[in-house]
Symmetry: C2
Subunit: 384 residues, 2 copies
């Protein structure tokens, strides 16, 4: 589908690009040799930074009292139908942290994917999956991508933003190669910065508390975008899209401008580049909205969206069911309506190749915890 | 001096807040027990990232053929007189890297300061010095500050932005205490990120080349500002100004907005704070211009300057004699003239307590390598 096709769709789709679904009873999906370790230690890594009030909203617990995000039917009714969301990109736990044993981490990634197919993707075509991989073993990750790529319900490859080295380094090329072969974008998610065997979450060491750590997470994204562009990943994989989930937005102008300025003086140190760094960024990088920065003066955010050409580079995400959830009825409500339609679904239709609205399933009665919103949540009518 | 006083000065001063003066023959200023080590190993640390063409401009070599930045008289004539610069804040080598031996690093810091007083501060009142300290030994650094603070030619305390832990952590309080007692701002300078025993320069490890490393240096500054504010340093030292030299500008709106948003949800984890994080930032943080980001659309930079209230938070710096020098006649030439006068000198007058223009010295003939610019370099006349 081209952008022009997308623009002529009668109703712009609403696509939530970051929904967290619980993948539980992982021991059922792990090979026998890992089950005892999982039951005894779980992931087996230290986390260091944890929200003192937990990460989930307390108002989205399913009627059966299970954990928020654990019931597919309740996600469909209480989140997707409530806000008129056509597709949810399921991100599971978001990522696997850096650990010492690549075989164990690969097995967990694969079990996550089996569990997701079994409990979630089978329930509704409105769910689109992430192939969760352990990027710390790039060859193993490439194998996992190739094994899953035949399932058209997968929308992207997903791993932790907190990698051991910047993603432009050559050791990660097998991941991008496998994703490109499958026609899938590659996405990263925050949360494991400073966990497991990761480096400290900042170039100057360890922040003291969760809020301070959370404030600074986008710097890992800046480092990844810088590396991907400078090391020529988008020259090697010209159709690749890189999705920076939940990593902030307003830092991008700074990074583009600084990279362009240095490139003019030092471009012979990256001779494989043929364009300005910012041109690669605008063509290949996609950010997600939540948590969107909220300056006192809304005009300032509108200016930032202009600087990053947000109609091409920004996709709506809610982060359901997490604590800092963004409501699609409220987020970016006052920006230009044409840009908003692109952000709320138009760009995601292209990035994830979602051509039209899926059929709504009839849900069983227990699924309805909250009354669904009727009509489009995007406004008074179609935006052309 | 108050802001109002500054605004009524007849001619706004031009103050260059980042000039690198060479501090050579350090062995003459080191105690006997360190001289052999210095002659044999110098600083004794690995640097990892070095500009393939060196860091200095080739057009500012003194007539005697010595290194750029090594001749005080030539700096006065070829840089300060040429551009009409009233004061230069001398930053020496910028910083001391993180090493293993605090005694050795403390001794080097002290030798730098002795050398700077001997070879530079004694030459002209237009030179203002930095008390260079080894922040990795905060108690030693505090001693060095107290030992130098009686000399009114010192304008600031200076150390490497690449610290071992974020600066808000309690172990660094003695530095801020000593600086506050002396009424001096505290400044950091980039260059040692990833050098010596520093952490990797990004939360995801080691970039592959100098350009990539240089692109991402501002993330260390973001981490430091985040920590200083969150950990309450500006509550403990309400008169302290923190100067982020050469760390970029356009990232600040993002950081302020993200910190404010998280603070609203998680402020009970930093109960010593009484205001929004952005309010501390705007009152206590000062950035320097070079290297200023240069978007294709100059209006975008003007918008960023508005977002950060640049009349209060930004000071001109040239980075003389380094490769990415900014010319004071050209930098930010098209911004609002009142804001420009604040950036080029008004704010620095307050931050460094420089009340009036100093007398120009008569320089000996050898000093004149380039013809001085006559008149004010700021424009057609005084800006009130």
């Amino acid at each position: 589908m081209t952008a022009a096709d997308g623009a002529t769709t009668t109703r712009p789709l609403l696509i939530d690009t970051d929904v967290h679904n619980t993948l539980h009873h992982l021991e059922r999906y792990l090979p026998r040799e890992w089950q005892d370790r999982w039951m005894a230690t779980g992931m087996g890594v230290g986390w260091n930074y944890q929200n003192p009030r937990g990460v989930s909203r307390r108002d989205v617990m399913p009627p059966n009292g299970a954990a928020p995000g654990s019931d597919p039917l309740f996600v469909l009714s209480s989140h997707m139908d409530r806000y008129g969301i056509d597709y949810a990109i399921l991100c599971g736990p978001g990522q696997i942290p850096l650990g010492v044993d690549p075989d164990y981490m690969n097995a967990i990634a694969s079990a996550y994917n089996d569990c997701g197919e079994d409990l979630w993707l089978s329930v509704s075509q409105r769910f689109r999956g992430s192939i969760i991989v352990n990027a710390d073993d790039p060859l193993g990750a490439a194998n996992e991508i190739r094994r899953r790529a035949g399932n058209p319900q997968y929308a992207q490859v997903l791993f932790a933003a907190a990698t051991r080295s910047p993603l432009g380094r050559r050791e990660y090329r097998p991941i991008f190669e496998a994703a490109s072969e499958a026609g899938l974008p590659v996405a990263v998610h925050p949360g494991t910065e400073g966990a497991g065997t990761a480096w400290p979450p900042t170039p100057v060491g360890w922040p003291s508390r969760y809020m301070e750590w959370h404030n600074i997470l986008p710097t890992a994204y800046m480092a990844q975008v810088n590396s991907l562009v400078t090391e020529g990943v988008f020259e090697d994989f010209p159709d690749l899209r890189f999705i920076a989930i939940e990593g902030g937005v307003a830092w991008l102008p700074h990074l583009m401008w600084r990279m362009d300025k240095n490139y003019k003086a030092l471009r012979d140190t990256a001779p494989w580049l043929r364009r300005l760094p910012s041109e690669y960024i605008l063509d290949h990088l996609v950010l997600t909205t939540q948590p969107i920065e909220e300056p006192r003066d809304p005009e300032h955010l509108a200016q930032i969206l202009d600087m990053i050409d947000a109609s091409r580079t920004l996709m709506f995400s809610s982060d359901y069911p997490h604590w800092d959830f963004d409501n699609p009825d409220l987020v970016l409500r006052d920006i230009d309506p044409v840009m908003r339609a692109r952000v709320m679904g138009g760009t995601a239709m292209e990035v994830y190749q979602l051509r039209e609205a899926p059929a709504r399933e009839d849900l069983p009665p227990h699924a309805g915890g909250l009354p669904p919103v009727t009509g489009s949540s995007l406004g008074a009518g179609p935006i052309e």
